[in-house]
């Protein structure tokens, strides 16, 4: 019976069916659920590693030891793991190894839009690009076989819409178990990439990709479906479904493997249709390869927005049926309003979707914000007030940039905050620089940068915002949380002890509860007056963790509020401007939404008139 599975659930299921015994990764939208779903399967080992490079090395170790393994990460995670990715592309493996990269077209939850299919071509490894949950399942199973047959890691590239779309999947009910357990082979010439060995291996990469190209000609994941021959579409990933939606009559070549490409299959498909187009999301990865092969592609009479990169469909952002239809109209593939000199589309070209436009309301945006009760809020309120340059990092606390907190000035990638602050200082910037980094990001890649601050005699004040979890991705365990992915109790790395062990002066490492505005302000002010590096750890469970939820206690605004607006400066979604005005100032009084308020008391502490209840008062009348 078919099961309704997201792409991520289907991928985890397929890994189990294929006999993978080790899965490692670092949380990152849209990849996170893969390992969470895999971890409870019987007879598997799954872990959150501190970062993606460690995760891939763990999976590589398992594959060297003769056990099927995989690593999961979001697209930018593969940048972190790129060194390991290239290494294993050189060595090959003993048992199947799959590297899962989840790209984020449209940047729903990411800082860039890189198309990771390029990694495969760069490192000469095959790349699979599923269209939906069933494909994800089937290609993940196939990936392990390809990996072993060609002694190569396989890159399985998925995207947000594939990861987070659920559809019915026919799964296998039996797990394939490797008949003889693998063992760790001693094969230095293959696995020790000293230059002499690496030079020996190097030609094998070219031979291997030539063999894979031949394999692709008959690979079951590359599917030709002949319908009307007027239009042929070569497509991969979720774009295949937009092709089916917008051009239901067109013939399709669905590429389950986008690298290397099957030359003869493509040439035959091209020869069998009148007009040939490529429909793919993000970069012209397939399109460019087809042009190099000399495959004749349809040239639209009107140049698209970025003709230097892609001929028909947008190179920026996620595709969807509407954008695909618009691009097809602009390219003359579908009828529609446009320049009179446009050639008439092929007979039979028809719209399957409405061409509508609705006058949109001019609505204020609703950006994501720090949640009510967020323990990061107090620090950002103070940093804004102190006016210092704040170098940020990747996590919930990246939202400290938003108004009214407006207290984060850079956020590039994981682990960047501390070294970026250090660089600004060493360049001669005279302001006192602050770096903020979360607990999971600290373990991910913050520690080497903190070592650097100490080693290279820096002046940076680092705030480690420890909310006891990996927040943005939905509460994953990390080395500081005391539990593993598979729910085992483990050592709880103490951030203060780690920092002290690096050698920071004892009086320059302090842990303060995140909600204690007064203590935080006193400490930050003191350190901003003196020279030298310091580390402040703010510690408080995320407001969305069950332990915190159990303590929710809505506070109320008291009668002596005079509408001074200072509490609005903390940017809490639970504090609203009421309809009532202060008699004297005619400014709106504050009101607290009891449904949203958690009772964190940050607003009560910043109120200059003591006009907001503290928890003790709320409890007394509650």
């Amino acid at each position: 019976m078919k099961r309704l599975l997201s792409g991520n659930e289907a991928l985890a299921r397929a890994a189990w069916e294929a006999g993978a015994v080790v899965g490692a990764g670092y949380p990152g939208t849209p990849s996170t659920e893969i390992l969470e779903v895999f971890a409870p399967y019987p007879d598997v080992y799954a872990e959150w590693s501190p970062n993606e490079k460690v995760a891939l090395d763990v999976a590589i170790g398992a594959a060297y030891a003769g056990r099927r393994a995989f690593a999961t990460m979001k697209h930018v995670g593969l940048n972190v793991a790129a060194d390991s990715f290239w290494s294993v592309a050189m060595t090959g493996i003993e048992a199947g190894l799959v590297v899962v990269t989840a790209d984020d077209p449209g940047m729903h939850s990411s800082q860039n839009e890189q198309d990771n299919r390029h990694f495969a071509r760069w490192a000469r490894v095959p790349c699979l690009d599923p269209t939906d949950s069933q494909d994800t399942h089937d290609l993940m199973v196939a990936a392990f076989d390809i990996s072993e047959r060609f002694d190569v890691p396989v890159l399985l590239r998925t995207t947000t819409r594939v990861c987070h779309t659920s559809s019915p999947v026919e799964v296998g009910e039996v797990r394939r178990v490797t008949p003889t357990p693998g063992s760790y082979v001693r094969n230095t010439a293959k696995y020790d990439m000293a230059p002499a060995n690496a030079r020996q291996r190097r030609p094998l990469l070219e031979d291997r990709i030539a063999a894979l190209s031949e394999f692709a000609e008959t690979f079951a994941g590359n599917v030709v479906t002949t319908r009307d021959r007027t239009l042929g579409i070569i497509t991969s990933g979720v774009a295949y479904h937009y092709a089916r939606e917008v051009f239901p009559d067109a013939s399709t070549l669905k590429l389950g493997m986008v690298y290397p490409l099957p030359r003869r299959l493509i040439a035959d498909f091209a020869a069998g249709v009148d007009t040939l187009i490529v429909m793919e999301e993000l970069d012209p990865f397939v399109e460019d390869q087809l042009r190099l092969m000399g495959i004749p592609l349809y040239q639209p009479p009107q140049p698209p927005a970025y003709p230097q990169t892609k001929s028909i469909f947008p190179v920026i952002g996620e595709l969807d049926p509407t954008s695909v239809q618009r691009a097809a109209v602009a390219a003359g593939l579908l009828p529609g309003p446009g320049p009179a000199d446009r050639p008439a589309p092929e007979p039979g070209a028809r719209h399957t979707l409405p061409l509508v436009s609705v006058a949109a309301l001019d609505l204020a945006p609703r950006p994501p914000t720090l949640c009510p009760g967020c323990p990061h809020r107090s620090s950002f309120y103070l940093l804004h007030k102190l006016g210092v340059p704040v170098n940020g990092d990747i996590g919930c606390y990246t939202l400290g940039m938003a108004k009214p907190l407006d207290a984060l000035h850079t956020a590039g990638c994981m682990g960047a905050s501390i070294a970026v602050a250090h660089g600004a200082v060493q360049a001669g910037d005279t302001e006192r620089h602050v770096a903020v980094i979360g607990d999971s990001t600290f373990f991910h890649s913050g520690i080497p940068a903190l070592v650097n601050v100490l080693y290279n005699r820096s002046n940076v004040v680092t705030i480690v915002m420890d909310n006891r979890t990996t927040g943005m991705t939905g509460h994953q365990e990390n080395p500081g949380s005391g539990h593993t992915l598979q729910r085992q109790e483990t050592v709880e790395l103490d951030i203060e002890l780690v920092v002290r062990a690096l050698g920071f002066p004892p009086d320059r490492v302090v842990t303060i509860p995140s909600y204690d505005v007064k203590a935080l302000e006193k400490q930050l002010k003191a350190w901003l007056k003196v020279d030298g590096p310091a580390v402040l750890i703010t510690k408080q469970e995320c407001a969305l963790l069950p332990a915190t939820k159990a303590t929710y206690l809505p506070l109320a605004v008291k009668d002596n509020c005079n509408g001074c607006t200072i509490c609005f400066r903390i940017g809490c979604p639970a504090i609203l401007q009421s309809d009532a005005l202060d008699e004297r100032t005619q400014r709106p009084l504050a009101v607290i939404d009891p449904v949203l308020c958690t009772g964190c008391e940050i607003c009560a502490q910043v109120c200059p008139r003591d006009a907001i209840e503290f928890r003790a008062e709320a409890m007394a009348h509650g």
């Binding site: 729903h108 939906d132 987070h164 309301l361 009214p404 943005m472």
Partner: protein, 207 residues
């Protein structure tokens, strides 16, 4: 209720604010669609936008569903768990389609501190005027308060939605809800659904 033939396809969008339960409601709809024999796709976005941002899920039922995303102007039904979001996504609903909107406001931070305007009910209704689409207000938040659980407005909306899809049996709805919620939450979710389904404000039947 009157028996009518099951529609060949039903395209639904669910919109709201991160944390309001649009994902749970879309899980229930996807589960239900599959159980009653449709091909189904359900698309949602996780991660950063869930932190109090504007969120949208797409649920599609049909004989064979391709795109996970519903095209602009092609949705048959729109469920909004928050009023302003009903205005934001009005363009997704097809002419003649129906929007069910929870009478509930959450001011975005741009309104609270940025001085931006929060739209009135009239303004939101105006977004459904051309081309003409039906907007029905559902007192989901009031029912949720009555039931003592602030999070069930999404299920009240599903109850109201069920009146627009009369060929699907009540038990199929309830079973789908029970499969998707924690055992301890089953009883009040069932009651929320029944109140939404019985609400006199929502005329039926028909998509």
């Amino acid at each position: 209720m009157v028996e009518s033939p099951r529609p060949a396809k039903v395209d639904m969008v669910l919109v709201g604010v991160g944390g309001q339960g649009t994902i749970l409601a879309s899980n229930i709809l996807a589960d239900l669609g599959m159980r009653i024999g449709y091909d189904v796709k359900k698309a949602e976005v996780h991660g950063m936008s869930q932190r109090g941002g504007s969120v949208i899920s797409h649920v599609r039922w049909g004989a064979e569903v391709h795109s996970p995303i519903i095209a602009t102007g092609a949705a048959d039904l729109l469920l909004a768990v928050e009023q302003m979001e009903a205005g934001r996504y009005a363009g997704l609903l097809r002419p003649g389609g129906t929007a069910l909107v929870n009478e509930f406001t959450i001011e975005p931070i741009t309104v609270i501190t940025g001085g931006a305007h929060y739209p009135s009910r009239d303004e939101i209704e105006s977004a459904y005027a051309v081309p003409a689409r039906r907007l029905l207000w559902v007192p989901g938040a009031a029912v949720a308060t009555e039931l003592g659980n602030k999070h069930v407005a999404n299920i009240v909306l599903l109850g109201a939605l069920s009146r627009l899809l009369p060929d699907i049996g009540e038990q199929d709805w309830i079973d789908a809800i029970q499969r998707q919620v924690k055992p301890s939450h089953r009883e009040f979710n069932r009651r929320a659904f029944e109140i939404g389904r019985s609400d006199a404000h929502v005329p039926g039947p028909g998509v």
